[in-house]
């Protein structure tokens, strides 16, 4: 069985060579190797070309461009002549950090991430453990039900949640009314609008965490758990001492990807409250989008970059916190 990565030439030579180490010693002439390698490289570039062309124009170019844009005074008036702008250094960033509205947006984003991220991870992990270890019947029903919100369109979800939360005709306040509680006007109340977004985010994302954790749980060797049981470890100990450490890599991955998504907290306030009431649900990315809408392309890019830096910081922090402690 020839296992070298060379091309179709020099076949006879390799077939005669027998086991792999011998084959490796008997490499064909440099000329042959060069053409085989060359053919492979050419094929690779042909295969890569369509993706890379699209990637360069619609991803890499915009990334670089927005860096530059955040250092200029690009406005919507420059839409047709985007190169005809002046360089202004870090003015946009300075202006950003002097804007109390942006600080408020950053604070809302921080509250959202700090509340929604642990809640989503904990709920997803708990659901996965309950489904994997706790019950035997109807697993698929629970799995599908918990996952269903993940695949939904946020626009459709917003319509449904808005009617659910209607102060007088909505289901939530009706149910609260059965217990004699007079529910608030959820989305119009500065105290409740952001918590509602947090609950919505947990509702929409715990299914993703659950699925990844379920896959992780299935990779925990049964023999290890049995050995721990024989050694007298209770269910609680078995989970925290055996299962949880083995889940750590999967947990890290979900924490990072969910964190990246949550720092870009946008959809829920955009479709539910437009950042209100009184900017209480205005997020950093929604702030950037509103600047874009007002024609301040430069400030919008700068705000986007601040979020990017925060994402990198949170990712590094999570790798530090959840990495295996050897």
């Amino acid at each position: 069985m020839p296992t070298s990565t060379l091309g179709g030439q020099g076949t006879k030579e390799r077939d005669a060579a027998g086991p792999q180490p011998a084959a490796r010693r008997r490499t064909p002439s440099p000329r042959l190797r060069r053409t085989a390698r060359g053919r492979q490289a050419r094929a690779a570039w042909i295969l890569a070309a369509p993706f890379l062309a699209l990637f360069l124009s619609f991803m890499l170019l915009p990334v670089v461009w927005s860096t530059l844009m955040s250092l200029t005074d690009t406005k919507s008036a420059d839409l047709r002549t985007p190169l005809n702008v002046s360089f202004t250094g870090f003015d946009n960033y300075v202006r950003l950090f002097q804007d109390p509205q942006f600080f408020n947006a950053l604070r809302n984003t921080a509250v959202f991430v700090l509340a929604a991220l642990p809640l989503t991870l904990a709920a997803g992990l708990a659901a996965a453990v309950a489904l994997d270890r706790g019950i035997r019947r109807f697993r698929a029903v629970f799995r599908v039900g918990f996952y269903l919100p993940v695949i939904t369109s946020i626009v459709a979800v917003a319509v449904v949640w808005k009617t659910l939360l209607e102060p007088r005709t909505g289901l939530v306040n009706t149910v609260l009314g059965w217990f004699g509680i007079d529910g608030p006007a959820w989305l119009a109340d500065t105290r409740f609008a952001l918590p509602v977004m947090i609950v919505m985010a947990v509702w929409r994302n715990l299914g993703t965490v659950m699925i990844i954790m379920l896959a992780g749980l299935q990779s925990v060797p049964q023999s290890l758990l049995e050995a721990a049981e024989i050694d007298g470890a209770g269910a609680w100990q078995r989970f925290w001492r055996v299962t949880f450490p083995l889940l750590r890599p999967a947990l890290l991955l979900t924490a990072v990807t969910t964190g990246i998504g949550y720092l870009q907290f946008f959809d829920e306030p955009f479709v539910m409250t437009d950042g209100g009431p009184l900017d209480s649900t205005l997020s950093a990315t929604l702030y950037a989008y509103k600047q874009f809408g007002n024609g301040n392309y430069d400030v919008a890019s700068a705000a986007g970059y601040v979020v990017f830096v925060l994402i990198i910081a949170l990712t590094v922090l999570q790798f530090r916190l959840l990495r295996d402690k050897d």
Binding site: T5, A41, M59, V63, W203, L253, A303
Partner: protein
């Protein structure tokens, strides 16, 4: 006498233990079903509420307290929805855009994924690193320049403007590369020995073997395109290019948010196809998310 009675007692005690063990084996921990059912109810309540509202006459939606189950079920909301908005066009646009984006991603991502996983070329590492690093870039960083770019390409007035920026996504490359790496090298070497050309190896040997990964990528891409709303909302300039979420977002935004019945019917139309799709293909779906850790 007494021995027989105690024997019977022991037997019933062992029966009880055995029964408990059997329940445990078949059901797991019975008490867990209570919190899990409670959570399930919370998770699906919005869907049930939507279905209930979408089949109620507008007057009943305003009723205080609301009916949990429609007392006078009606299709009036759907009829009015189809009459007022050009829903057929929006539905067609959503399907066209999602199919085009899915086809592009399947082809381009598997091509690059194969090159990165199995071929040797200069700059391989750099290409992989740069493509994967962009997974961290927030959508809003690229949003503004992308808008300037697409509007200068005169694409804001056509469906192409909704398709082109999403044709090749880094996530797809990651997924395909991970999957193709697990295929045996011997397969490719044997084909080379048999004189198969490099591109034919990809097309005739690798691609058919990647079907499970392609299915996963297809489902994920189709769904994210179907649900995508911000870009089409900004780029689509007239009703002939609206996708379903755009139509629903515009109908439900601001002061017009009064006709709950119609909006809920619209939400049903947006959610129903993907929900059915998900229920049918959930196996592929779950497999893909579990292996890549991304959605």
């Amino acid at each position: 006498m007494t021995t027989a009675a105690s024997a019977a007692r022991t037997r019933s005690a062992t029966d009880k233990v055995l029964r408990r063990r059997r329940i445990r084996q078949e059901w797991g921990r019975p008490w867990l079903y209570l919190p899990l059912t409670g959570l399930l109810l919370l998770m699906v309540t919005p869907f049930l509420w939507m279905l209930s509202g979408a089949f109620k006459p507008e007057a009943d939606i305003r009723k205080i307290p609301p009916d949990l189950i429609p007392t006078r079920p009606t299709l009036a909301n759907y009829r009015e929805l189809l009459g007022t908005l050009d829903f057929t066009t929006m539905f067609a646009n959503s399907v066209i855009v999602a199919l085009a984006v899915t086809a592009g991603n399947l082809l381009f991502c598997s091509m690059l994924g194969y090159a990165l996983a199995k071929l040797e070329f200069r700059g391989q590492r750099a290409v992989f690193t740069v493509v994967i690093a962009t997974l961290m870039v927030p959508g809003l960083v690229t949003f503004v320049p992308l808008y300037v770019l697409v509007s200068n390409m005169q694409l804001t007035g056509s469906l192409l403007g909704l398709i082109l920026p999403f044709l090749a996504t880094p996530f797809g490359v990651f997924l395909m590369r991970q999957f193709i790496s697990t295929l045996p090298d011997e397969l490719i070497d044997a084909a080379r020995v048999d004189g198969c050309r490099e591109l034919a190896i990809f097309w005739k040997i690798i691609l058919p073997l990647t079907r499970p990964a392609l299915a996963t990528l297809a489902i994920i891409t189709f769904l994210s395109s179907w649900n995508n709303f911000l870009w089409p909302l900004v780029v689509a300039q007239n009703e002939s290019q609206y996708t379903l979420p755009v139509g629903l977002a515009l109908a439900s935004s601001g002061q017009d948010f009064t006709r709950f019945g119609i909006l809920l019917a619209g939400a049903v139309i947006v959610l129903l196809p993907v929900s059915i799709f998900f229920l049918l293909f959930q196996r592929h779906f779950v497999a893909g998310i579990a292996t890549t850790g991304l959605k």
